[in-house]
Subunit: 155 residues, 2 copies
DNA sequence: AACGATTATATCGCACGCGATTTATTTTGG
DNA sequence: CCAAAATAAATCGCGTGCGATATAATCGTT
């Protein structure tokens, strides 16, 4: 392997693998760290981001939820049903388009918002990520996601 | 900590502000993009990175594999058993420490390496990530992972 | 040597996550 | 106006992913 600065073709090929694996590892690690903070709320990470979307909008269709969370209906349907069973959300067919299912918050779901307010601060403490690194990663991940989604269209 | 722009409590909860969500979304998207390239090999992404580790080392214990891939034995055991069923790897108890299970490559597993060589190039084409963005993300994710793992120790 | 602690895997239960398919509803083109 | 295409959810099957626990082997201490 070349030791100097020069990038060989195998370096370039390896880049994709390395980037993917690091994303995969970092994502799993951060979600793992969420678990203890979310457990008192009775939520998993995916349920938590679903509730976050609803705390912002109060009510969203399954399609809108899927677009925001980047999840398929096959993932979302059972997940939202669990939240419904837990008494946090309601599910009902839209009156204007009966193909659409609208998910809304119950009072218990709204109430959970207050308890959830402490989660980001706890996570910030727990992760103890350097702030400038965090901000830079957010920017770069946004750019990555945008690049991934724009060239999604020619597939 | 204090910025000129004060963050409100609801800003803190906002989906778009969360590093974690971006990692989660980016990781899923990249793994999704791998799928069509790995399907001809009969591998999932997790199976692929497992085989990559073995193509590098020829033989690894379950513990070593878990450390490399950042996976628990509860994930790894069934996964490696599937690779064994597919005829790609062997599993046997270590003779020197019978607690340890050693995973090795079969000839079919070694042969698969050649077919897999084209995958990173296909992914590089497919993702079409800006090189400097990719390199920067790798560096930043490395730093993130290191920070996560060092303060893991006081938990 | 003995036995409690540690270590390496394996097992179990639960929750994603998605492609493929199905069902119900709306939209559209002739 | 109506059948075909498109759309929105739901369902199914399979493969992770992990915490909790179980099991077996080794280590450490006396």
């Amino acid at each position: 392997m070349a030791k100097e600065k020069q990038a060989t073709s195998s370096d370039v090929l390896r880049l994709e693998n390395q980037l993917c694996f690091r994303l995969y590892a970092a994502s799993k690690e951060v979600v793992r760290r969420y678990r203890p903070h979310l457990e008192p709320l009775g939520l998993t990470y995916t349920q938590y981001i679903t509730m976050m979307a609803l705390w912002e909008e109060e009510s969203l269709s399954m399609k809108e939820l899927g677009a925001r969370l980047d999840l398929e209906s096959s993932t979302l349907t059972p997940l939202v049903k669990k939240l419904e069973t837990a008494g946090l959300v309601t599910r009902q067919r839209s009156t204007e388009d009966e193909r659409s299912t609208v998910v809304g918050l119950t009072q218990a779901g709204r109430d959970l918002h207050d308890k959830a307010l402490s989660v980001p601060a706890c996570m910030a403490d727990d992760l103890a990520i350097d702030t400038s690194l965090g901000l830079q990663l957010i920017d770069d991940l946004d750019e990555l996601l945008q690049q991934l989604r724009t060239d999604n269209q020619d597939r």
